[in-house]
Point group: C2
Chain length 175, copies 2
DNA sequence: ATCACTTCTTAAGGTATCTTAATTTTTATC
DNA sequence: GATAAAAATTAAGATACCTTAAGAAGTGAT
């Protein structure tokens, strides 16, 4: 289950930017240790996190890599990390790939799509509080590990409001 | 580009339900004419539309079909439609599929994932007004064709508020 | 054409979530 | 271990969007 062409690993420091708005993505990343994230910056300059990628996760801009167009997102390291670099050549055209790799790709794409669909459902139909609780259940280790403001950005609320929610939640649990 | 096992077509009437909450999905649908939609019902009984499927689109519950678990969604016809029924057996395990089919699947999954990611970005970072304008640009034919309340549900707002937004938008264009 | 039904509009008041800003707590650095 | 820097908390006021409700305008069936 690891047939993607992978370079030897590389170390990056917290804060290092691996992909910027406007770049055309030619590589994606597999995180060996540490944590990366992808995010957009909206019209009013605010960041919104699309993905966290801790150990064993992949991260990249599939749209930019597939369609050779300038990226709308940023990818950076939110912890000192060790990463493998993966060429995204394969994404553009699947016809010449080996069968084994195709099976791996399809499986990853399918699972990613299922997860992303769940996130859409959550954003459409759940309150901020519900989304936060979902996040803690889905990513219990990340909740411990990441600063509150990054979690707030991922679930689509401000850090101030998440702080508030946490207080309310812990208050209601004490009874 | 049409190697999925497809039955002969079937006619369904507006309002017919093809998949209900709690069902385990064993089929997906390709729409030949008309339009289907998928949606969830939230904690307070409100519908949220996940997808519209007009002509030539596929629709189904990939999570339920892949993992053989009860669906969280509904699929129904929002117009009288003609559909082809596709077995979702293939989704569970890709290892035994022909290469050609794998290429087709991967491509569809990749494109779907790119589109779904864009929707997440939009829900996280755009206002209701911006999301509506995006929708009109992305699906100009659907805007004409679908009732306002379904569009509102898709972009994550109430029909009353969308009606308001439309008025404001047309007012600002008249100047 | 008429009646029922659904969709759309409009408006008033309400709520979830945001903004701003000041204070406290935690973390990192020399 | 002191100081600076970053993160988290708290609170007050603001706003985007929702709820409710009532009327208007379409749409379909007889």
């Amino acid at each position: 289950m690891d047939n993607l062409k992978i370079s030897k690993t590389k170390k990056v420091s917290k804060g290092d930017i691996l992909l910027s708005f406007g770049d055309i993505a030619t590589t994606a990343y597999k995180v060996e240790s540490g944590c990366l994230r992808s995010y957009v910056i909206d019209n009013v300059g605010k960041e919104h996190i699309l993905q966290f990628a801790p150990e064993d996760w992949f991260i990249g801009d599939m749209d930019s890599a597939t369609n050779k167009k300038p990226s709308n997102i940023f990818i950076d390291a939110i912890e000192d990390s060790e990463i493998s670099i993966i060429s995204t050549e394969v994404l553009k055209d699947f016809t010449n790939l080996e069968k084994e790799l195709l099976v791996e790709m399809s499986t990853k794409l399918r699972n990613n799509l299922i997860a992303t669909n769940k996130r859409v459902i959550s954003l459409l139909s759940a309150t901020a509080k519900e989304r936060y609780i979902e996040f803690t259940e889905t990513y219990p280790t990340l909740v411990q590990r990441l600063p509150l403001k990054l979690i707030a950005s991922y679930i689509g609320i401000t850090p101030e409001y998440l702080s508030d929610l946490r207080r309310k939640i812990s208050k209601s649990q004490k009874k």
